[in-house]
Symmetry: C2
Subunit: 97 residues, 2 copies
Protein backbone atom coordinates (compact mmCIF):
# COMPACT_ATOMS: atom_id res chain seq x y z
CA UNK A 1 0.00 0.00 0.00
CA UNK A 2 1.27 3.46 -0.94
CA UNK A 3 0.18 6.04 1.59
CA UNK A 4 0.56 9.71 2.17
CA UNK A 5 0.60 10.45 5.88
CA UNK A 6 0.02 14.06 6.86
CA UNK A 7 -0.13 15.22 10.43
CA UNK A 8 -0.51 18.35 12.51
CA UNK A 9 0.69 17.90 16.05
CA UNK A 10 0.19 20.75 18.49
CA UNK A 11 3.66 21.62 19.73
CA UNK A 12 2.65 24.29 22.23
CA UNK A 13 3.74 21.99 25.05
CA UNK A 14 6.87 19.83 25.63
CA UNK A 15 4.58 16.80 25.48
CA UNK A 16 3.41 17.93 22.03
CA UNK A 17 7.00 18.29 20.84
CA UNK A 18 7.68 14.73 22.03
CA UNK A 19 4.56 13.48 20.20
CA UNK A 20 5.77 15.19 17.02
CA UNK A 21 9.15 13.47 17.19
CA UNK A 22 7.59 10.09 17.94
CA UNK A 23 5.09 10.38 15.05
CA UNK A 24 7.93 11.26 12.66
CA UNK A 25 10.02 8.37 13.97
CA UNK A 26 7.24 5.83 13.32
CA UNK A 27 6.66 7.20 9.82
CA UNK A 28 10.38 7.06 9.06
CA UNK A 29 10.29 3.32 9.71
CA UNK A 30 7.83 2.92 6.84
CA UNK A 31 8.77 5.53 4.30
CA UNK A 32 10.26 8.91 3.49
CA UNK A 33 9.67 12.41 4.70
CA UNK A 34 8.72 14.65 1.77
CA UNK A 35 7.83 17.70 3.80
CA UNK A 36 7.93 18.71 7.44
CA UNK A 37 4.76 16.88 8.39
CA UNK A 38 4.16 14.79 5.31
CA UNK A 39 5.48 11.29 4.65
CA UNK A 40 5.12 8.95 1.72
CA UNK A 41 5.00 5.42 3.06
CA UNK A 42 5.01 1.96 1.51
CA UNK A 43 3.20 -0.36 3.94
CA UNK A 44 2.39 -4.03 3.51
CA UNK A 45 -1.38 -4.50 3.93
CA UNK A 46 -0.72 -6.91 6.82
CA UNK A 47 1.23 -4.16 8.62
CA UNK A 48 -1.12 -1.29 7.96
CA UNK A 49 -3.30 -1.74 11.04
CA UNK A 50 -0.27 -1.92 13.32
CA UNK A 51 1.30 1.11 11.59
CA UNK A 52 -1.87 3.15 11.98
CA UNK A 53 -2.42 1.98 15.54
CA UNK A 54 1.10 2.96 16.59
CA UNK A 55 0.43 6.50 15.33
CA UNK A 56 -3.01 6.66 16.91
CA UNK A 57 -1.62 5.74 20.30
CA UNK A 58 0.86 8.63 20.05
CA UNK A 59 -1.34 11.53 18.93
CA UNK A 60 -3.65 13.53 21.18
CA UNK A 61 -6.94 13.25 19.33
CA UNK A 62 -8.19 16.52 20.83
CA UNK A 63 -5.33 18.66 19.57
CA UNK A 64 -3.60 16.72 16.79
CA UNK A 65 -4.73 15.78 13.30
CA UNK A 66 -3.64 12.69 11.36
CA UNK A 67 -4.67 11.98 7.77
CA UNK A 68 -3.92 8.95 5.61
CA UNK A 69 -4.33 9.16 1.84
CA UNK A 70 -4.31 5.88 -0.04
CA UNK A 71 -2.48 6.73 -3.24
CA UNK A 72 -2.77 3.34 -4.89
CA UNK A 73 -0.26 1.44 -7.02
CA UNK A 74 -0.29 4.20 -9.58
CA UNK A 75 1.05 6.66 -7.00
CA UNK A 76 4.04 7.86 -9.02
CA UNK A 77 1.73 9.33 -11.63
CA UNK A 78 -0.34 11.01 -8.94
CA UNK A 79 2.32 13.25 -7.45
CA UNK A 80 3.91 16.42 -8.80
CA UNK A 81 6.81 17.92 -6.92
CA UNK A 82 8.00 21.53 -7.31
CA UNK A 83 10.67 23.54 -5.52
CA UNK A 84 12.97 22.16 -2.88
CA UNK A 85 12.83 18.36 -3.05
CA UNK A 86 13.63 16.41 0.07
CA UNK A 87 12.06 13.24 -1.28
CA UNK A 88 13.57 10.03 -2.53
CA UNK A 89 11.70 7.27 -4.30
CA UNK A 90 10.33 4.74 -1.90
CA UNK A 91 11.70 2.10 -4.29
CA UNK A 92 15.17 3.58 -3.72
CA UNK A 93 15.72 5.99 -6.62
CA UNK A 94 15.99 9.74 -5.92
CA UNK A 95 12.76 11.45 -7.05
CA UNK A 96 13.92 14.15 -9.45
CA UNK A 97 11.86 16.72 -11.35
CA UNK B 1 -9.88 17.24 -10.39
CA UNK B 2 -9.47 16.40 -6.72
CA UNK B 3 -6.07 17.44 -5.47
CA UNK B 4 -4.13 17.36 -2.27
CA UNK B 5 -1.80 20.33 -2.10
CA UNK B 6 0.98 20.13 0.49
CA UNK B 7 3.57 22.80 0.91
CA UNK B 8 6.53 23.69 3.07
CA UNK B 9 7.41 27.37 2.89
CA UNK B 10 10.51 28.57 4.69
CA UNK B 11 9.28 31.21 7.11
CA UNK B 12 12.65 32.24 8.50
CA UNK B 13 12.27 35.62 6.79
CA UNK B 14 9.37 38.13 6.61
CA UNK B 15 9.28 37.45 2.87
CA UNK B 16 8.80 33.75 3.62
CA UNK B 17 5.93 34.52 5.99
CA UNK B 18 4.29 36.59 3.24
CA UNK B 19 4.76 33.71 0.76
CA UNK B 20 3.12 31.32 3.24
CA UNK B 21 0.06 33.55 3.58
CA UNK B 22 -0.21 34.06 -0.18
CA UNK B 23 0.06 30.30 -0.90
CA UNK B 24 -2.68 29.58 1.65
CA UNK B 25 -4.86 32.33 0.19
CA UNK B 26 -4.64 30.88 -3.33
CA UNK B 27 -5.42 27.38 -2.05
CA UNK B 28 -8.41 28.68 -0.09
CA UNK B 29 -9.91 29.94 -3.34
CA UNK B 30 -10.00 26.35 -4.63
CA UNK B 31 -10.69 24.20 -1.61
CA UNK B 32 -10.35 23.60 2.09
CA UNK B 33 -7.52 23.60 4.56
CA UNK B 34 -7.30 20.21 6.27
CA UNK B 35 -4.05 20.82 8.09
CA UNK B 36 -1.66 23.72 8.54
CA UNK B 37 0.04 23.28 5.18
CA UNK B 38 -2.27 20.81 3.51
CA UNK B 39 -5.32 21.64 1.38
CA UNK B 40 -7.84 19.47 -0.41
CA UNK B 41 -8.85 21.24 -3.57
CA UNK B 42 -11.45 20.67 -6.26
CA UNK B 43 -10.12 22.23 -9.48
CA UNK B 44 -11.69 22.19 -12.92
CA UNK B 45 -9.17 20.71 -15.39
CA UNK B 46 -9.31 23.94 -17.41
CA UNK B 47 -8.25 25.90 -14.31
CA UNK B 48 -5.54 23.56 -13.09
CA UNK B 49 -2.66 25.10 -15.02
CA UNK B 50 -3.58 28.60 -13.82
CA UNK B 51 -3.99 27.35 -10.23
CA UNK B 52 -0.61 25.64 -10.28
CA UNK B 53 1.07 28.57 -12.02
CA UNK B 54 -0.23 31.04 -9.44
CA UNK B 55 1.35 28.94 -6.68
CA UNK B 56 4.60 28.46 -8.59
CA UNK B 57 5.01 32.19 -9.03
CA UNK B 58 4.68 32.68 -5.26
CA UNK B 59 7.05 30.03 -3.89
CA UNK B 60 10.83 30.33 -3.74
CA UNK B 61 11.90 27.15 -5.50
CA UNK B 62 15.22 27.10 -3.62
CA UNK B 63 13.72 27.07 -0.14
CA UNK B 64 10.08 26.03 -0.49
CA UNK B 65 8.49 22.73 -1.44
CA UNK B 66 5.14 22.29 -3.19
CA UNK B 67 3.54 18.91 -3.88
CA UNK B 68 0.32 18.10 -5.73
CA UNK B 69 -1.30 14.71 -5.28
CA UNK B 70 -4.00 13.80 -7.79
CA UNK B 71 -6.51 11.89 -5.69
CA UNK B 72 -8.94 11.04 -8.47
CA UNK B 73 -12.74 10.93 -8.45
CA UNK B 74 -12.68 8.21 -5.83
CA UNK B 75 -10.93 10.58 -3.40
CA UNK B 76 -13.42 10.17 -0.54
CA UNK B 77 -12.51 6.51 -0.22
CA UNK B 78 -8.82 7.37 -0.26
CA UNK B 79 -8.67 9.52 2.85
CA UNK B 80 -8.85 8.56 6.52
CA UNK B 81 -9.01 11.32 9.10
CA UNK B 82 -8.17 10.87 12.79
CA UNK B 83 -7.97 13.32 15.68
CA UNK B 84 -8.81 16.98 15.42
CA UNK B 85 -10.76 17.52 12.21
CA UNK B 86 -10.58 20.94 10.62
CA UNK B 87 -11.86 19.65 7.30
CA UNK B 88 -15.19 20.02 5.59
CA UNK B 89 -16.31 18.12 2.53
CA UNK B 90 -15.40 19.94 -0.62
CA UNK B 91 -18.96 19.19 -1.79
CA UNK B 92 -20.26 21.12 1.22
CA UNK B 93 -20.94 18.48 3.91
CA UNK B 94 -18.85 18.49 7.11
CA UNK B 95 -16.39 15.56 7.00
CA UNK B 96 -17.11 13.65 10.24
CA UNK B 97 -15.45 10.50 11.55
Amino acid sequence: MYLLVAYDVSTSTPAGQRRLRRVAKVCQDYGQRVQNSVFECKVEPAHYVAFKQSLLTIINSQTDSLRFYHLGRNWKHRVEQYGKNTGYDIEGLLLVE
